[in-house]
C-alpha cells in the first residue's frame, strides 16, 4: 500500500504532456536538405504518418520517466510494507500527563521520566487540569510519527479530577494508562477570601474538607470599613420617591457580607423610575462575566425578576423593572453583588476522596497496532515525513536525467553529422 503525504502534487502529472508536445512539435520541423539522389527517396504515406508521431521514443520515454519520478517524489509517497508496519508497531509514542496538583508531584515527575525513557518519542505535559492535559496530549499524538500511540496520566486521581468526557478527547487507536502517585491527606484545610459587611465586620472564612464532610468556620478579623460604608463600589439608584427604599435595599444586601474583590469594578443597580440608568452594550470582560453570572443567578430566579445588564464608562449598569420599594429589591442588589464578587469557591485540591482503581482499570485502553489506514491518515497529516520514498525517487530521477543527457548528446552528434552533410 502506498500513502501520499502531498497527494495534491500528483496533479503535476499534467506536466508529462510537455515533453510529448515538445517531441511532436520537433517532429514537424523537418530540416530541409539538398540531396542529389532525391529521386530514389520514397515519400511514402508511412513517412507522412510518422511525422505526426513523437520523435525518438527512447528519449521521450526517459524524459517522461524523469518528470514522473519528480512528480512522485514531490507527492512524498510512503510505502507501507509488512516489515515496515512491524517496525512501526514495535515503537511507542507516549504523552505523559503529570498532575501538578497531586499530593506528591515530585514522585509523579520521576515516574513520568521513566515512562518517557522507554518510549520512541515522548512528551511530558504538566497540568493542573487533567482534561486540559489530555487535550494537549491528543494534539501532540496527532503529529507523532507512525508508531503505537499512548497517553499516560500520572496523578493521585482525586475525585473529580477526571471525567469520562475528558477521555473522549483521546484519538482513536491511542491507548491510555493511569499511574497513581501519592495519597491525599485525610483532611484538607484552606483559607478562603475574606468577607466584609456581615454584621458590620470583616470575616475570614476557613474551609475544612475531610472524609466525613466539609465545614466552614468564620473568624472576625476587623471592624467595618473606615467610613462605615462597606462596598462603596456598589451604587443603587431609584426614583426620587424611592431613594430611601433603595438605600435600605442596598444595606440589606450588604449585610449578608461582601466577598473581597477589586474595588475598581463598580456596579450601579438601577430601579424603575431612576433618572440616569442608560448604558451601552457590554464590551468589558469582567462586566460580561458578571452579566453571565447574573443571568444564571438562582436568587433572581427565586424572585422571578428579569434584569438587564449594560455598561457605561467601565461601570456595570444593572437595570431592574421594579421599584426600590419592592420586596424583591434587596434580592436584586444581592444578586448583583454575588455576580461581581462570587461567593466562596470550592477548591478541588481540597478533595480527599480519590477515583477508585476499578474505575481507572475500566478507563484504561491499550494502544492499537499501526494499521495501513492509520498510516494513511498519519501520512495525510504529514507525520510520516521521514518515512517517504522521495529521496530514492529523486536519486532515480537524477540517474535518468544523466541518461537523458547522454541520449541527447548522442542524438546531437547524429544531428551534427547531418548538419555537416547539409552544409556541405
Amino acid at each position: 500500500m502506498i500513502a501520499w503525504l502531498t497527494p495534491g502534487a500528483l496533479a503535476a502529472f499534467a506536466l508529462l504532456a510537455a515533453p510529448v508536445i515538445v517531441h511532436l512539435l520537433a517532429r514537424r520541423n523537418a530540416r530541409r536538405l539538398v540531396f542529389p539522389a532525391t529521386a530514389f527517396v520514397r515519400a511514402t504515406q508511412a513517412a507522412a504518418v510518422r511525422l505526426r508521431r513523437p520523435t525518438d521514443l527512447v528519449l521521450l520515454s526517459v524524459r517522461l520517466g524523469v518528470l514522473a519520478l519528480a512528480v512522485l517524489a514531490g507527492a512524498h509517497p510512503v510505502v507501507v510494507t509488512r516489515w515496515r508496519q512491524a517496525a512501526w508497531n514495535a515503537r511507542v509514542s507516549r504523552a505523559v500527563i503529570i498532575d501538578s496538583t497531586s499530593a506528591d508531584a515530585g514522585a509523579g515527575r520521576q515516574l513520568a521520566s521513566q515512562e518517557a525513557a522507554s518510549a520512541f518519542r515522548s512528551v511530558p505535559i504538566e497540568s493542573a487540569d487533567l482534561a486540559d492535559g489530555i487535550a494537549r496530549a491528543a494534539q501532540w499524538l496527532a503529529s507523532a510519527p507512525p508508531s503505537r500511540r499512548e497517553i499516560v496520566v500520572v496523578s493521585s486521581f482525586r475525585m473529580g479530577a477526571l471525567h469520562p468526557e475528558a477521555l473522549s478527547l483521546i484519538p482513536p487507536g491511542a491507548g491510555i494508562r493511569f499511574l497513581r502517585v501519592g495519597t491525599p491527606r485525610a483532611e484538607q484545610t484552606a483559607a478562603l477570601s475574606p468577607v466584609t459587611g456581615w454584621r458590620g465586620r470583616r470575616w475570614q472564612p476557613t474551609v475544612t474538607v475531610s472524609r466525613e464532610g466539609t465545614r466552614t468556620s468564620w473568624q472576625a478579623v476587623g471592624g467595618p470599613d473606615a467610613n462605615g460604608e462597606p462596598a462603596k463600589w456598589l451604587t443603587v439608584v431609584s426614583a426620587p420617591a424611592d431613594v430611601a427604599a433603595g438605600d435600605r435595599a442596598r444595606r440589606a444586601a450588604v449585610s449578608f457580607g461582601v466577598p473581597s474583590g477589586d474595588d475598581r469594578q463598580k456596579v450601579v443597580v438601577s430601579f424603575a423610575g431612576a433618572a440616569d440608568a442608560q448604558g451601552q452594550p457590554i464590551h468589558t470582560p469582567w462586566i460580561a462575566r458578571a452579566a453571565e453570572a447574573l443571568r444564571r443567578s438562582e436568587l433572581l430566579a427565586d424572585v422571578d425578576v428579569p434584569v438587564t445588564a449594560r455598561e457605561r464608562d467601565g461601570t456595570m449598569i444593572v437595570g431592574a423593572p421594579l421599584t426600590a420599594s419592592s420586596a424583591a429589591a434587596p434580592a436584586v442588589v444581592r444578586a448583583a453583588i454575588l455576580a461581581v464578587r462570587p461567593a466562596v469557591l470550592a477548591d478541588q485540591t481540597l478533595e480527599t476522596m480519590t477515583i477508585s482503581d476499578a474505575q481507572l482499570a475500566q478507563w484504561r485502553r491499550d494502544p492499537a497496532p499501526v494499521s495501513a489506514d492509520v498510516v494513511a491518515t498519519l501520512a495525510r497529516g504529514g507525520q510520516a515525513e521521514g518515512e517517504t520514498a522521495s529521496r530514492w525517487l529523486w536519486a532515480f530521477a537524477l540517474a535518468l536525467l544523466g541518461v537523458e543527457g547522454w541520449l541527447r548528446r548522442r542524438t546531437g552528434r547524429g544531428a551534427l553529422r547531418e548538419a555537416h552533410a547539409d552544409a556541405a
Partner: protein, 297 residues
C-alpha cells in the same frame, strides 16, 4: 612510393596544373608501360634488352639469328585521342560529409587524367556539360593545350539540370576519329537516350571509361530524423523520415548502381565507381594499375 593525397586539401589548391601533376606523378611512379595505347607506331631502331623491358617488343627472330636479345624501339607519335566529358550539373555540387563536392573531385580527376594522357604524348580534349555543352576543347597534344584545358576546368562551375544524352551525342559528333571517351559524372540522368549514346560510341569504336562519382551519403542515406529533401536540379521536395526511408532507398540506389555496372559491361565500357572520400591519387592509381595488369584496352 605510394601515399594518399586528401581530396579536400587538393581541392583547396587553386593551381590545377600543379595539383594534377602531383597526382599523376604519384599515379604512374613504378609503371613501366603506358596504361593507354594508340593504334600505330613507327619502327625506329633496335637496342639491347634491359631487364624490365616489355617482352612483346623483343625481336625473337633476331634473337634466333644472333643469340642476343634486342628490343624494338618506335618513334613516339600521337596515336591516342582522348576526350574527357565532365558532368557540371547542379547535382555534382554536393559534398555530403566528405568536405569536397563531387564536382571538385571530378574536376581534379579530369585534370589528372588529362595530365596523364598528355604526359604520354597523346591528345586530350574536354567537354563540360549540364543541360547543354558549356565548354568544348577538341583533342590536341602539347603543354599549351593542356594548360588551356586546365584553365577551362578551373573556370567551370556546376549548375543546371543534366542532359547527358544530348551532351554525349554532340560530343560524338565533334569527335573526328576513334579514341578514348572518359565520362565523369554522378550518372543521375538515367534514360534510354544515354544508353543509346553510349552504345553508339562503342559501336563507332570508341573506348569508353565511366567514372561514377558518388558520396557515401548518396549510398547510405544517413539521416535519422524527418527531413525534407530537395533535388538540386529539379527543386522537387520529398518529405521523408530518414530511419524508415533508409532501407527502400538503399535497395533503390543499389539497383541503380548495379544497372550502371551492367551497362558498362554490355557496352564494353570500363565502369569505375569512385567515392569522394577516397584519396584521388589512390583511386586513380588503383584504376591505372588494374588497367595495366589486367591488360584492358
Amino acid at each position: 612510393m605510394a601515399f594518399s593525397l586528401d581530396p579536400v586539401a587538393l581541392a583547396a589548391i587553386a593551381d590545377l596544373e600543379l595539383v594534377s601533376r602531383r597526382i599523376v606523378d604519384g599515379t604512374i611512379s613504378g609503371l613501366h608501360r603506358s596504361p593507354f595505347h594508340g593504334y600505330s607506331a613507327e619502327f625506329s631502331q633496335y637496342r639491347h634488352y634491359r631487364p624490365g623491358d616489355d617482352l612483346k617488343y623483343v625481336d625473337w627472330k633476331l634473337f634466333a639469328r644472333t643469340d642476343r636479345l634486342y628490343t624494338k624501339q618506335f618513334i613516339e607519335t600521337t596515336n591516342l585521342w582522348c576526350q574527357i566529358a565532365l558532368d557540371a550539373s547542379a547535382s555534382m555540387n554536393y559534398a555530403g560529409g566528405a568536405g569536397v563536392t563531387k564536382f571538385e573531385y571530378a574536376r581534379l580527376l579530369a585534370a589528372s587524367f588529362a595530365h596523364l594522357v598528355s604526359r604520354q604524348g597523346d591528345a586530350v580534349g574536354l567537354v563540360t556539360y549540364a543541360d547543354r555543352l558549356t565548354h568544348y576543347l577538341p583533342s590536341r597534344g602539347g603543354q599549351a593545350h593542356l594548360r588551356s584545358l586546365l584553365l577551362a576546368l578551373q573556370r567551370t562551375e556546376p549548375g543546371g539540370q543534366t542532359d547527358a544524352a544530348s551532351a554525349l551525342a554532340r560530343t560524338l559528333d565533334l569527335l573526328k576519329r576513334r579514341g578514348l571517351l572518359v565520362l565523369i559524372s554522378d550518372l543521375y540522368d538515367e534514360d534510354e537516350r544515354v544508353d543509346q549514346a553510349l552504345k553508339q560510341a562503342a559501336h563507332i569504336g570508341h573506348e569508353i571509361i565511366l567514372f561514377h562519382i558518388l558520396t557515401r551519403e548518396e549510398v547510405e542515406l544517413p539521416f535519422r530524423d524527418d527531413v525534407e529533401l530537395e533535388d538540386p536540379e529539379t527543386g522537387r521536395l520529398v518529405l521523408a523520415n530518414g530511419a524508415s526511408a533508409a532501407r527502400p532507398y538503399r535497395e533503390a540506389i543499389s539497383a541503380f548502381l548495379e544497372r550502371w555496372r551492367a551497362r558498362g559491361a554490355t557496352s564494353g565500357a570500363d565502369y569505375v565507381r569512385v567515392f569522394t572520400d577516397t584519396p584521388l591519387d589512390a583511386a586513380l592509381r588503383a584504376y591505372v594499375r588494374r588497367r595495366v595488369l589486367g591488360g584492358a584496352a
